[in-house]
């Protein structure tokens, strides 16, 4: 059980103080998959980071399994963190280490003996389907594979909680689905509590059981996913839900552009802005050997076709230069 009691987080600056989390009280039951959703800047990541003490609350208390995280001394906090895995939007792998060594890192931190460590890493590699990539470096992996390494690494010390900070936001829809499936399996097999922070309603909808919606640091609505989807009360929740529902007649496609053409980005963007589409860069697909940037484009199919032709003509112009 993870509990927030009247938790606030303020950032004091010279002139002003900004409030990132505003008197939040929440209870996340053990073994569930819990979604925290909101637009960017809503304070959801800050809230998540208070669970493993990366951020300390300015007021209030955070409990994980009846232990007050915000009161732990440094050494206690460090050993407590070993039992809480975390995965990130941009993976944060060590590029100087191979896949195997990356997964071994948390075990080294926990002073696990070499024999147990190797066995554990082999098991984790197999669990996330990367046995063949064990000796590759992160730079040789795709975005989805990198996140699998991130997940294996987060599971290394048998955590009771897995914190996911926008874990699929840098991935394309296909990869997102496979990562979400993996997370769901992990929850079912190991009974780990998953806390998922995201701005994508589809993520919450597909795997979460309970959720809360955040806006301006406050939790504005919470409940089961079915409840909130069928009967959203707060305007923000309605917006999030209807956006998602509207996207039923919306199409989603992944387009890409050669890095070289980015120098014309201003004019390209101007052209694209005439069409009401939602455009998101997918940094997870960046690859040294293939200098292209991929976008997720959401919108009506005719608009997407238009955007596609804009990017295409940019590519051709780029070639003629």
């Amino acid at each position: 059980m993870i509990q927030f009691h009247h938790v606030s987080k303020r950032y004091e600056d010279k002139q002003k103080s900004t409030i990132a989390v505003d008197r939040v009280s929440l209870a996340i039951p053990e073994g569930t998959i819990y979604g925290i959703i909101g637009f960017s800047g809503a304070g959801k990541s800050t809230l998540l980071r208070m669970i493993n003490g990366l951020e300390k609350p300015s007021e209030g208390q955070v409990f994980v399994a009846d232990q007050e995280i915000s009161q732990l001394a440094d050494t206690q906090l460090r050993s407590r963190r070993q039992k809480m895995g975390m995965i990130f939007q941009h993976f944060h792998l060590l590029w100087s280490r191979t896949v195997r060594e990356n997964i071994a890192f948390p075990l080294e931190i926990a002073d696990v003996d070499p024999a147990t460590l190797n066995k554990k890493v082999d098991y984790l590699l197999e669990r996330v389907g990367l046995t063949e990539k064990a000796d590759d470096y992160p730079s040789q992996l795709s975005g989805g594979q990198k996140q699998r390494v991130g997940i294996a690494r987060a599971l290394a010390n048998d955590p009771s909680v897995l914190l996911c900070d926008e874990a699929t936001s840098a991935l394309d829809p296909e990869t997102t689905r496979s990562i979400l499936k993996l997370l769901q399996e992990i929850n079912q097999e190991l009974g780990i509590t998953l806390v998922i922070v995201t701005h994508e309603m589809s993520v919450v909808q597909s795997i979460c059981r309970q959720m809360s919606v955040m806006d301006h640091g406050k939790v504005i609505e919470e409940g089961t996913v079915e409840e909130l989807f069928s009967n959203p009360k707060h305007p923000i929740t309605k917006r999030l839900v209807t956006n998602e529902l509207k996207s039923v007649d919306h199409v989603e496609e992944v387009l890409s552009i050669h890095l070289y053409d980015l120098r014309n980005w201003n004019s390209i963007q101007q052209l694209i802005s005439r069409h009401p589409v939602h455009l998101q860069i997918l940094p997870g697909n960046l690859n040294v050997h293939q200098p292209v940037i991929s976008f997720r484009v959401q919108g009506k199919s005719e608009d997407i076709t238009a955007v596609k032709s804009i990017l295409q003509s940019a590519n051709e112009e780029g070639l003629s230069c």
Binding site: L77, R81, Q82, F88, H92, L94, S96, F105, P106, A110
Partner: protein, 218 residues
């Protein structure tokens, strides 16, 4: 023309240069790496926020970098005397060489570490890593290719600085070129010393580049 070259002298001078440069590169690394790490981790919002230590270290580093090397040599006479009981010779010359290059290298280490994505450090923190583990297993390995490039640059500049070691009787190729080449109107001596220095720099740069590239897995 090459008949005018005193090869025994050249050999001796080459050994002196190698000796001074390798000792001072070693110590520049020994002092520069911890200093560079401290400069990063003591700054605001980093692992070990210590504004006072940060600004003091930064000031000391800047002072050493601001003083011209030739003046540093003169200033550090007493220091060399205190540590080594002599202020003359190749070994004594390494003292100002280290003092001049360690702060320079520390700044390079600082930059190299600063380039690391903060998220990687945070990931290590989320796994429960101690500050020391983060420095040893995240910051230094991740910055290693840049640190090696920095050490290469430092070593090359040490080769050129070591030419000034002649003042304290440190000898070396630079000193030989000046005294037995330039002042003795022996152009071939001057020429040969120059060539050897160029080869030395090429060699150091080549090895450094290769090592840095070899371990860079980005």
């Amino acid at each position: 023309m090459l008949a005018d070259v005193d090869w025994a002298l050249i050999g001796q001078a080459s050994l002196e240069t190698l000796y001074m440069v390798s000792i001072s590169t070693l110590f520049a690394a020994l002092f520069g790496i911890p200093l560079g790490v401290l400069l990063v981790i003591t700054e605001k919002g980093h692992l070990w926020e210590q504004p006072l230590i940060q600004s003091t270290l930064s000031l000391i580093v800047n002072i050493f970098r601001a003083v011209p090397f030739i003046v540093l040599v003169l200033f550090l006479f007493p220091v060399a005397n205190f540590i080594l009981n002599t202020s003359l010779g190749s070994t004594a010359a390494t003292i100002p060489l280290i003092a001049g290059s360690a702060p320079f290298f520390a700044r390079m280490v600082e930059t190299a570490i600063r380039e690391i994505d903060r998220g990687v450090m945070e990931a290590a923190q989320s796994m429960g890593a101690s500050h020391f583990t983060i420095i040893r297993k995240v910051l230094l390995p991740e910055a290693l290719p840049s640190i090696i490039s920095g050490l290469t640059v430092t070593c090359v500049s040490l080769i050129s600085f070591s030419a000034m070691a002649g003042i304290v009787g440190g000898g070396g190729l630079g000193d030989a070129a000046y005294r037995f080449g330039f002042q003795a109107y022996n152009d071939s001596m001057l020429f040969i010393c120059g060539i050897i220095l160029i080869i030395l720099v090429q060699l150091v740069q080549g090895i450094g580049d290769w090592m840095s590239k070899h371990i860079d897995k980005r």
